[in-house]
């Protein structure tokens, strides 16, 4: 069972504090230690693993009614003189759900029920990312979130999905076509998203090939 894949050795990225079928919100165990925007994460109750893409990261005061105020010091000075400041801050992130797995392969659509609050969130390993993004449905799921930054989110997630692949460029082309298809009526939008990961296609030959060197 896939659930077993998440072991104690995987670093915890956070703990869920809010969850719905479309998104989850988690608090990072350490301030400022947040997963990258657009990266793939997963969480598991005993029966189901839910996969998501990090769609929002924020650092703020622990107490929502009290904003942090400017202190006029560098972090080096703060750590020396007022180490408690770090304790008053928290890092939270949100992930958009894009897939889930029960007993079997990853299903590239929304889970039937939200993940549980207080379950931990882990980073997806390379195999997970490859399997979950092979089918490009996640692009459409992210496009349907209605988030104002959907374009950025799609581009970032495609970049992240391409990284563990040996045929990185081929994947980016395929993903680009999915984007072009999704925004068929809006050529400007499509090409602006495509340009946001086009540079990666030109640069890196892909992680897997790097490993083999």
């Amino acid at each position: 069972m896939r659930v077993q894949g998440i072991g104690a050795e995987s670093p915890r990225l956070g703990e869920i504090v809010e969850a719905s079928t479309t998104r989850l919100r988690a608090v990072a165990p350490q301030t400022f230690a947040a997963p990258a925007f657009g990266s793939f994460v997963k969480t598991s109750d005993t029966a189901r693993t839910t996969y998501g893409v990090v769609a929002h990261v924020e650092h703020a005061s622990i107490d929502p009614s009290r904003r942090a105020i400017p202190l006029g010091r560098t972090w080096v000075e703060l750590e020396r003189e007022q180490p408690q400041v770090l304790e008053l801050l928290t890092t939270e992130f949100e992930a958009s759900c894009v897939a889930f797995a029960e007993d079997g392969p990853i299903r590239p659509y929304l889970p039937p029920a939200p993940p549980r609050v207080h379950d931990f969130v882990f980073a997806c390993d390379d195999e997970d990312v490859v399997e979950l993004t092979e089918d490009l449905t996640f692009i459409r799921t992210l496009g349907a979130t209605g988030l104002p930054i959907a374009a950025e989110l799609i581009a970032a997630s495609i970049r992240a999905a391409s990284e563990p692949r040996s045929d990185r460029r081929a994947f980016l082309v395929r993903a680009g076509r999915e984007v072009a298809d999704l925004y068929r009526q809006d050529y400007e939008q499509a090409s602006s998203i495509i340009r946001r990961f086009g540079l990666d296609a030109a640069q890196s030959p892909g992680k897997a090939r790097d490993k083999s060197r």
Binding site: E134, D135, L172, V173, G176, R177, V179, A180, D181, R184, Q185, Y187, E188, A190, S191, I194, R195, G198, A201, A202
Partner: protein, 545 residues
């Protein structure tokens, strides 16, 4: 392709056997042809016009050539701001931009049946289009057999396209193409095929000495074996200029001599522009011929002119103008001065030729140093007229006797055919008659020319099979395709022919028009010579019939 990217091994095998998939049918009509959306993995630059493809419908397999390749787009914005980034261009290919190809299916094969039939329907939406396989080619264009000649291969393929020679000899045919497109090589190949299959006697008016023993490739300077070299004694060389033949190490079987008595008015009418004859002079010749007899008039005229008593003689002939006839006689000197024109000949070479042809042998008439149209057309006209008469007699006789298969089918090969078959000449000369009606008497023409537009329209319409190489002149292109269904589509193919290598084949002896790469002549000649040697053994004298 499956989602995980694995390829089904069976599907892969089938794809390999059946040719690469190109795309799917998206639009079509029987009238305007089929539009196919090119697959995103197929580069538009790899798709060549003229390529032979098949469309797999549910019940039928359709055969066609690619007639056009087009670029299309789903969104006008793309065209307003074309992406300059190579990656974006690649991504947009297949989504916002795509390519289509146009097909004109000509034949279809019903699944489970053997023979192909003309199309009466079109393939359904999304039917797969793929490059034709070798099997497809042999389904449509047959395999090499006793009466079929493999003449080349479809573009980018290795299987033979065969021409049905038994149909080929039934009608007058043409080989067209501008200079240097390999017309004479192709013609030799066709004739060698006909000779080897024993389907017809072959007569060649060989203006440039290319069909007898050897010809030289203008580019490579390589010597190419010609008909006599391949078939030995079955081919006879008649030389109009034996000295030239011997210089080229060719031993002619016969020397062509023309008796002045054999020259008739019709022969000279054909030469009117070469001789500068006026309408009045032609009428004069007719009057003289009537008066002195069609075999004696020329000799008489020249003799009287020689002794200076022409004026007196002419007085007794009404309607003839003495000055004009004198000028005529001076003009005709050009003919009587020719080395092979004699006052008297002991042996009629024209009769010899006709006998040989009736005995199913083959004749090449070499002109040697007489490369002028005057000699060429004069000899061609006299010989052909003789053939015309003999074949008609023989045919009528054997019909009366109930004999079948005699006289043998005869293919007369005519180079520079527009000279004989121009709109002005074709009504008055024997060649027009042959092209129009001699099919009934087992005689057909093989017209070889670089100016198809110079040939009379009515005669062009009689041509059964056309082999067309590259043609530059628009009038020639239109002339070749005149009256052919789908002429516009075929013209695209014609425009894209590579000179020397590719020809467009179509008409009576072909199931559908197709562009082919012509096969290597040297290999063909060698193979044919070996096959002929094995069959006939040592040369025997076939002279007696």
């Amino acid at each position: 392709m499956t989602r995980s990217g694995q390829i089904d091994p069976l599907a892969a095998l089938e794809a390999e056997l059946s040719g690469r998939a190109l795309g799917r049918v998206i639009r079509g009509s029987l009238l305007d042809g089929i539009e196919v959306r090119l697959g995103d993995d197929v580069s538009v630059e790899d798709v060549r016009v003229g390529r032979f493809v098949v469309v797999d419908g549910y019940r039928h397999r359709f055969f066609s050539a690619i007639h056009d390749v087009k670029l299309a787009n789903t969104n006008e914005d793309v065209l307003l701001r074309p992406p300059d980034d190579g990656f974006v261009q690649e991504v947009l290919r297949g989504t916002n931009t795509y390519a289509t190809i146009d097909l004109r299916p000509k034949l279809l094969l019903e699944r489970g049946e053997d023979g192909v039939r003309p199309v009466k329907t079109i393939p359904p939406h999304f039917a797969t289009v793929r490059e034709a396989s070798d099997d497809d080619v042999s389904t449509v264009f047959g395999a090499e057999g006793l009466t079929t000649l493999p003449i080349g291969t479809p573009l980018e393929m290795t299987s033979d396209v065969c021409i049905d020679l038994s149909r080929f000899v039934e009608r007058s045919n043409a080989v067209f193409g501008k200079t240097g497109t390999g017309k004479s090589f192709l013609t030799r190949m066709l004739l060698a095929g006909v000779i080897k299959a024993e389907l017809a006697s072959v007569l060649v008016f060989d203006m440039h000495n290319e069909y007898g023993m050897w010809s030289e490739d203008e580019e490579t300077k390589r010597k190419a074996p010609a008909l006599k070299e391949i078939f030995g004694q079955r081919v006879l060389i008649f030389s109009v200029d034996p000295a030239s033949s011997r210089r080229r190490s060719v031993t002619p079987d016969y020397e062509v001599q023309v008796a002045m008595s054999d020259i008739q008015v019709a022969d000279l009418v054909l030469l009117r522009s070469e001789l500068g004859l006026t309408d009045a002079q032609i009428r004069d010749m007719e009057s003289l011929s009537e008066r002195w007899g069609d075999r004696a008039w020329l000799t008489t005229l020249m003799a009287l002119q020689e002794v200076g008593t022409l004026d007196e003689e002419l007085e007794s002939i009404p309607g003839v103008h003495a000055q004009s006839v004198k000028a005529l006689a001076r003009n005709l000197k050009k003919v009587t001065r020719l080395a092979f024109v004699k006052e008297q000949v002991t042996d009629s070479s024209a009769d010899r030729m006709v006998d040989a042809l009736l005995a199913r042998r083959h004749v090449v008439i070499e002109f040697g140093g007489h490369t002028d149209f005057l000699s060429y057309m004069l000899v061609a006209s006299i010989v052909t007229r003789r053939i015309h008469n003999r074949w008609r007699e023989e045919k009528e006789q054997s019909s009366a006797d109930g004999k079948i298969g005699f006289p043998p089918q005869l293919v007369i090969t005519l180079e520079e055919a527009h000279k004989f078959l121009s709109p002005e000449a074709s009504n008055q000369t024997i060649f027009g008659t042959i092209a129009r009606e001699m099919r009934k008497y087992n005689v057909t023409l093989l017209v070889v020319d670089q100016r198809p537009s110079g040939i009379d329209e009515e005669i062009r319409s009689q041509l059964g099979t056309r082999v067309v190489g590259a043609l530059d002149d628009e009038r020639d292109q239109s002339a070749v395709l005149e009256g052919v269904p789908d002429a516009r589509a075929l013209r695209v193919l014609l425009n894209n022919l590579e000179p020397k290598k590719q020809v467009l084949l179509g008409g009576y002896a072909m199931p559908m028009p197709i562009v082919i790469e012509v096969r290597d002549y040297y290999g063909f000649a060698k193979g044919t010579r070996r096959a002929v040697g094995e069959r006939t053994g040592p040369d025997v004298d076939l002279w007696q019939r």
